[in-house]
């Protein structure tokens, strides 16, 4: 509550006469408040008689004190009944404590400025992401062929081509399946696993992937269930490819008698064509 304002402004002014020093002003303040001793009172009275400013100073101080006194009385006269409001508030607090529980005062120590809620959510999301990453990594969903890294016994098949038993062959375009052009490497990644019912007793040799800078063909052989790979590479150094094929040398091809047509001919061992070497050196080319 604020005291009633009287609208007057009391100022301590300095009038004509010798200006008062600070010690004299303090003496006069003490005199006004009746706090001076015997000798200070004599000096104060003498100063008031001799200096008109001193008397005015004392008068202004008296006026100020009267003003404050009137204000104090005004405050005392104001009839403010707070007890009813306080009692109402006490009742409200008692009811709230009954229904909602008592108020808990937090410690007034230093509060942590770190938000632990965000940290928990971050940890949980990180763990979930890590679990998903491990799941996709080790489940082999996005498994890509890597040279030298193999899982023994893993079922392998070529996309659209089954190289198991002859009954499980895919006849669509298998005979002359050519892949891409000579411009870049060819990737031929296996994707289809063998179905559970078609896995033969003896799996045949099969590739995981085939890459080449040439044109790759998978040749099907009716007798063999093995992959025959043909790479057609460009030979820029040889211009006359249409050169006529020379007739085979009769001395090299020793034809046995009474042979049936279209039967393979086995050369005799005495033909000095093939060489067996036991080291890694380049072999002698026979022309």
């Amino acid at each position: 509550m604020s005291p009633k304002s009287t609208g007057k402004q009391v100022k301590v002014k300095s009038f004509t006469g010798k200006p008062l020093s600070e010690s004299e002003e303090l003496l006069l303040v003490k005199f006004t408040d009746n706090e001076c001793g015997f000798f200070d009172r004599l000096f104060a009275k003498r100063l008031i008689r001799s200096n008109p400013q001193a008397s005015e100073f004392v008068n202004s101080l008296s006026t100020l004190s009267d003003e404050f006194s009137s204000t104090e009385y005004a405050l005392k006269d104001m009839s403010v009944n707070l007890w009813s409001k306080i009692s109402q508030r006490i009742d409200q607090e008692e009811k709230a404590e009954f229904y909602l529980g008592g108020r808990s005062t937090e410690s007034l120590g230093k509060k942590s400025s770190y938000d632990w809620t965000k940290l928990n959510w971050g940890l949980s999301s990180g763990l979930v992401a890590a679990g998903l990453a491990l799941f996709f990594t080790y489940s082999g969903i996005f498994d890509a062929p890597i040279p030298g890294a193999l899982i023994p016994g893993a079922p392998i098949s070529e996309a659209g081509i089954s190289l198991g038993n002859s009954t499980s062959y895919s006849t669509a375009g298998l005979n002359s399946k050519s892949l891409n052009s000579e411009s870049g490497a060819v990737s031929f990644v296996s994707s289809l696993p063998l179905s559970s019912g078609t896995r033969p007793e003896t799996l045949r040799t099969r590739p995981d992937w085939i890459k080449s800078h040439g044109k790759v063909k998978m040749i099907r052989n009716s007798e063999a269930n093995l992959p025959i790979i043909w790479v057609n590479r460009s030979l820029p150094n040889y211009a006359n490819r249409s050169r006529a094929i020379k007739a085979p040398n009769q001395s090299l091809f020793d034809l046995p008698e009474n042979r049936a047509a279209n039967t393979p001919i086995i050369l005799e061992d005495k033909v000095p064509n093939a060489l067996s070497i036991s080291n890694n050196n380049f072999s002698r080319t026979v022309k």
Partner: protein, 182 residues
């Protein structure tokens, strides 16, 4: 509250790891029982035969229409008929014992190099990475990873000059090391 969140995080992590373990695909043929699992062998015996093919089919001559095959290629006689040539002569034959996961280079004719690296070796199955490239290293003729079922032979061929071809017959069998019983 905080303890509950920590417990919840642990449960989520456990569930994620358990899903990972369940979803991990086991390859066909792998067995849990150690006693019945295929023995992991250390070395692989690789046989590489370089074959020169000539006389393409379609360019008939007066000589013959029969297919002529080197005697030493008798075991793959039927497979060679898949190529469009009538004459097959073996140029070189090499048999190497290569340790698993070791790389070996074999020099071949027509300025090519064959790089072999066995990846695994079991009783009846061998996995091998095969790279056939030119000696200069500029071009790769063939880069593949094969699974050999004992005793299969893989054939790969490429064209050469004068309408000829170079064919490789590659076979890989595991080398069985007999155990010495005390």
């Amino acid at each position: 509250m905080r303890l509950g969140r920590v417990i919840g995080l642990i449960v989520i992590a456990t569930i994620c790891f358990s899903f990972t373990a369940i979803a991990e695909k086991k390859p066909e043929g792998s067995r849990k029982n150690k006693s019945t699992a295929p023995r992991e062998l250390k070395e692989v015996v690789v046989k590489v035969r370089a074959i020169k093919a000539s006389n393409p089919k379609g360019e008939e001559t007066n000589a013959s229409k029969e297919v002529v095959v080197d005697r030493r290629l008798e075991d793959i006689n039927s497979k060679l008929s898949g190529f469009e040539f009538k004459s097959f002569k073996m140029i070189s034959e090499q048999e190497l014992t290569i340790p698993v996961k070791k790389k070996t280079e074999i020099g071949l004719t027509e300025k090519t190099v064959l790089i072999l690296r066995p990846v695994y070796s079991e009783e009846n199955r061998v996995g091998m990475w095969i790279k056939w490239e030119e000696s200069s290293g500029d071009r790769t003729l063939l880069d593949t990873r094969m699974h050999f079922e004992n005793p299969d032979t893989m054939l790969a061929g490429t064209n050469c000059k004068d309408n000829k071809a170079l064919i490789l017959a590659i076979s890989a069998v595991p080398k069985v090391t007999p155990k010495v019983t005390p």
